[in-house]
Symmetry: C2
DNA sequence: CAATAATATATCATATTTGACATATTATCA
DNA sequence: TGATAATATGTCAAATATGATATATTATTG
């Protein structure tokens, strides 16, 4: 129920250094044929961390869908959002440096409403 | 109470920089004695800005519900979240200085999952 | 009522997020 | 193939969010 520790870890995760190591660790174990359950468990993520990451990835996917549907390149979308191509790329990749705020604002700017966002998340 | 809410919304608004009031339309309708829709419309918020603010307020309300259900004070919840009473108060008030990220992480830390968050938003 | 608990508001130093830029990698197509 | 468009990755100064603190306001209780 209470998850102060997890919140902290979430914050740590947002820092830029960690992901590559995590990916390598995952790969290493996969190669050895371990099947330790979900990717999240493999990486030692708590259910709270997983919930948060999954939510973000859902929004990322929704953003990709919207952009493709509008037949825009990342650069074109970036211009619409007054952002940059590189940031759009990071949004779509679920980069830790991208906030849920930015994803939500971007989706809304592309025409999504609360209901659409809720649907994308759930 | 309403004055407070309006102030908050104005602050939120002034953040993303584009405030253009359709004063003419508002005035015209007011003179005719119409009650023109939402506070947001009267303040000249775009539908995008409204969508975002409403989404945030939905999360704020969800946070209040969760806290009350757990019979916690803001101070107790703050301790759990490793935050502060004042920030919890701001979260629940939908203060512009509070991000959707923080609201989502806090809800997850209190036991909400993606589905619950989606439900709260829609 | 007055004491006290709970919530709200203001401010600030620090931490995190952002757009921008450079550059790398990958896809598309003549 | 090689040219070129699209996407990805790394870095950084500036912008924004954060917890902490102080203090004010509002509820609750005795």
């Amino acid at each position: 129920m209470f998850a102060n520790k997890e919140l902290n870890i979430m914050k740590q995760m947002s820092k830029n250094g960690k992901r590559k190591m995590d990916k390598k660790k995952k790969k290493a174990l996969e190669v050895k044929g371990y099947k330790v359950g979900s990717v999240g468990e493999l990486l030692g993520l708590s259910s709270e961390e997983l919930e948060y990451i999954e939510l973000k990835l859902s929004l990322s996917q929704a953003l990709i869908r919207h952009r493709k549907q509008s037949k825009l390149t990342q650069a074109q979308l970036a211009k619409m959002l007054k952002s940059s191509q590189s940031r759009v790329a990071k949004m779509e990749k679920g980069d830790p440096s991208v906030s849920v705020d930015l994803l939500v604002k971007s989706l809304i700017a592309m025409g999504a409403n609360k209901e659409g966002i809720a649907k994308a998340i759930a």
